[in-house]
Subunit: 216 residues, 2 copies
């Protein structure tokens, strides 16, 4: 079982039994996410931006318009922190104090690097597209030279990484189990709804396979 | 319609027509969220932490254990940035380039202040509890003096705040509408699943009203 090396930045300090440095665990959490939250320092203050991303092996790709403030800042190689969190449920205890959440979360620390090579840019864009919807890349028009030119891509190596996971039932004070209060877990799930065809479509087409696969 | 004042930090620069400073819009986005992402600078590098929060009027409350590194850092009154994002759907265009997401997002910049007064701490804890699940606070055992003592609460005033929202169909290049590619929107929704009663319960109790209300 391959592990990420624990560093002072990634060591899970509070509730450390919830921590994991296992690569497969980290990949699974990352690959299920549609967005991540990117933290960086801009003009001396912290900024947190939600954004699409892609993973390929031990690299995370971020992309956006060439004018993006986030990408312009990150391409300078400054410190960046990325968080991906799935909220899996509410943990409803008998006491207000012991309420919690079930979640799977990954924290990444690193520095970004500009992707300059056109072929690597395409690899990165495919990774981002696969993250949004597996199989979509093969269905749609590929990026033109002009589109590639106005798209900026950054890569961040997965080196300083940890996961933190909570699952299961609430943990109450021993005496509180006698209270007449229902306790348990309320699972939450992100569920795709019925696809809405583009009202501007020039012709009626069946819903794409990449979308149908989500309901299979 | 009350608005937050636009500042250099909160001015939506890219795709500015998606920006909003309307207080009711911001409140609605915040109040629907179960977690937020908090960004701050720790020993010179950026950190992003997902956490529970509460809102009451123009104040955001964060809470945690007194030993929490995040709270210990923030209570010093340093700059903090908070992001709340709902991912509402995948926007599936005919070209890879024009893929997007529908979302509702709020960015907050500010500084935190320690809540020291016991009564205000209870107000803050109720706000956090209401955010997790409306009505739960009234059903459960209230915090003891000991629990209050080991819980740290911070407040951040909503002053520098903006929202950013994307809804609806994909926007493709004019010539791409002729392609034989299905395009549209795939809505995503967070759906509560069947509650799981605590297997450690000493007696069988009906599921709490606060939970049932979510399915009403």
């Amino acid at each position: 079982m391959q592990q990420f090396t624990i560093t002072p930045k990634t060591k899970v300090k509070i509730l450390s039994k919830r921590g994991s440095y296992d690569k497969e665990t980290v990949y699974r959490i990352l690959d299920e996410a549609k967005i991540c939250h990117v933290g960086f320092i801009y003009e001396g203050y912290p900024v947190v931006i939600p954004t699409i991303f892609g993973r390929k092996e031990d690299v995370i790709f971020l992309h956006g318009a060439v004018g993006s403030r986030m990408l312009k800042t990150l391409e300078q190689g400054v410190d960046v922190s990325i968080n991906v969190t799935h909220l899996d449920g509410l943990v409803l205890a008998r006491s207000a104090f012991h309420h919690s959440m079930n979640y799977r979360s990954v924290v990444i620390f690193g520095k970004a690097e500009l992707v300059t090579d056109d072929e690597e840019k395409l690899t990165a864009l495919k990774a981002v597209s696969d993250q949004v919807l597996t199989g979509r890349w093969e269905e749609v028009r590929q990026p033109s030279q002009k589109e590639l030119k106005i798209t900026k891509l950054l890569k961040i190596k997965l080196e300083e990484v940890s996961a933190k996971i909570r699952t299961g039932k609430p943990i109450d004070e021993p005496e509180d189990y006698e209270l007449d209060v229902w306790a348990g877990e309320l699972p939450l799930r992100v569920i795709p709804q019925k696809p809405i065809s583009d009202p501007e479509a020039h012709k009626e087409l069946p819903v794409s396979e990449s979308v149908n696969n989500l309901f299979a």
